[in-house]
Symmetry: C2
Subunit: 398 residues, 2 copies
Amino acid sequence: MEYVIAERMRHMKPSAIREIFKYSANPEYIPFSAGNPAPEAFPCREMAEISAKIFAENPIGALQYNFTEGYPALRDAVRQDLRDRLHIGKEMDDVLITSGAQQVMDLAAKVLCNEGDVILCEAPSFIGSLNTFRSYRVRLRGIPMQSDGMDLAALEQALREEPDARCIYTIPNFQNPSGITMSLEKRKALYALAKQYGVLILEDNPYGDLRVSGQDLPCIKSFDEEGLVIYAGSFSKVISPGLRVGYACAPKEILQKMVVGKQGQDVHTNILAQMLCHAFLTEYDYTGHLARLREIYRQKSALILGKIEEHLVPQGVTYAPVEGGLFVWCTLPEGIDMLEFCRKAVEKKVCVVPGSAFLTDESLPCASFRMNFSTPTDEQIVLGTERLGQLAAEMRAQ
Amino acid sequence: MEYVIAERMRHMKPSAIREIFKYSANPEYIPFSAGNPAPEAFPCREMAEISAKIFAENPIGALQYNFTEGYPALRDAVRQDLRDRLHIGKEMDDVLITSGAQQVMDLAAKVLCNEGDVILCEAPSFIGSLNTFRSYRVRLRGIPMQSDGMDLAALEQALREEPDARCIYTIPNFQNPSGITMSLEKRKALYALAKQYGVLILEDNPYGDLRVSGQDLPCIKSFDEEGLVIYAGSFSKVISPGLRVGYACAPKEILQKMVVGKQGQDVHTNILAQMLCHAFLTEYDYTGHLARLREIYRQKSALILGKIEEHLVPQGVTYAPVEGGLFVWCTLPEGIDMLEFCRKAVEKKVCVVPGSAFLTDESLPCASFRMNFSTPTDEQIVLGTERLGQLAAEMRAQ
């Protein structure tokens, strides 16, 4: 049987990261390619306690159908947390619990974009989101990144040239993959541009709680008086990615359409997982937990940066500063082909992600690759950076 | 801000059932409108045991990222179960774990249908699936139901007239909402028609294990030599709907595209939930559990049918025979307006679902409504049917 695949999916390939994930699940490979939280970052004891309590006190509640909008107590807790800690969520807004923040990207594209419409996104940006947008036949226009966030002159030009632009997709904190954090000035200017051109902002903030140095900056959503921002949050990096619980805070009118889309995708997000997140958020020392995570990643990021300095910088590799998140964005010197470097790294059993995977047009030239420091053990970080340094030296010598 | 909503979602409304669910969550209302498993059907003790074991032995495995295709051990167990009990899954096929069978419908439409393509579906059919198809701007053509399944003459005519038909959507066992089970002859003839016209079959089988009388019939997928059938199964009705675990068994080529779609929607299905289902399937007496469920629903269906005979049949209401599943499809006599009957029932704090909600064109005339017997308690079944009988008598007298 020759199958006719719909246009939207015909040319779609599995995400390079999810595919490399299969390698990195093999313990022989050093997994700089993943985005998994560090094993020591999981609140295992607390999850075990909460789970036992749920099954003792309310098993049917955990196993029965529930509301598409989310487990009511978790929605309340998220509303409260967003208000208290991030100062976001106005009268016009509401909260939808999703199956990971990935589903916010999917539902936003589904609700906002006709086929052929445009999403303006940071270049490079998170491949998982870009692929979701592509699956709705959205055209992506990349806006180059500067050290303090999107190039706003390029953004404004794009807004002028693209009447079908429906939203601006941004990860303002410790962007994936570049690690860049958007400055306060740019956050405000970006909001003003969105307002001026009547375009929405999709603000994706999975790493915001993982700052390891510097000062927290306000979310773009906190400026939102006009109902222009769809904010996506996630428990994946701060509680557990396996539970698949994220959320959107967005204007009710848009959220209602996202709820309809979610009904069709998965009816609602796993209730047991929502109850686990709810209890952890409200009955435990969540602030203390976040502080502990930051300490773990402060140490791991310091380790990898030190080792990059030791093994890669002498070979001409540069890297972007890391104030938080889980990634280091490294750039190879001229004379080393990036794709070949990534391929040869796999031969040395070290997995990194080619930077081109994060571009709106993968065929554009790119000398960068992404390294993750949360997944590998400290020993793997030491060994892996050493191997990458050797590889760079070998390739330079050729 | 005036929002521009994408065409595909502009006219979409929340599912009537999910909206009525909000009423039926109110304990003052008798919930004939839901599709929730009976509280006594949940394996609460077993889930508590398994969950404790998972958090004691492999907490990080339950909380960490995993494969989009599904938790490997659960995929294996599902492959085995499908082979052993249903004789489905050939060399060309594979299994994808999804966030409920609802996600199979979404991903199948996403992979198979361009905007404007056609899905042929039973009329009436499950509103959740119809809405998902609509959200991809698929045109639905309803094929009338007969007492032994789709009217195959009408199906063949539709296949001749619709060159853009991409698949035939069917729930062959205890169809939702009609309760009808497709005969063996029709299953074979439907497969032959699909083969002749080169159209795929989307076989949705959430209730197959809930037969309360008569003999099990083979799935359409069990005839599939050509790779024409996407089979959707679910743990929602046999373990827990709150966990949101379903699966597809389909030709690998289609499944690979569904995996790409799933990466964009939710990366993977909640791992803890997949581990719970896996352990329950492989370490407990699953066959015995299913037998226990059938006994629960045998009793509940006998109760409701007896009470319908007592209170509704004397008012001219007819109903379709029930061999399994969770629903009774009732039809009002001439002279009683169905929508008004459903509205007045809510005033009497009894929720049923208007049959028109299940039509491809909701404005078509419809005298039927759907009653569920798994959600209400026995007392509610007695009281609710009595109230509906009184209502029918009042409306006939007018």
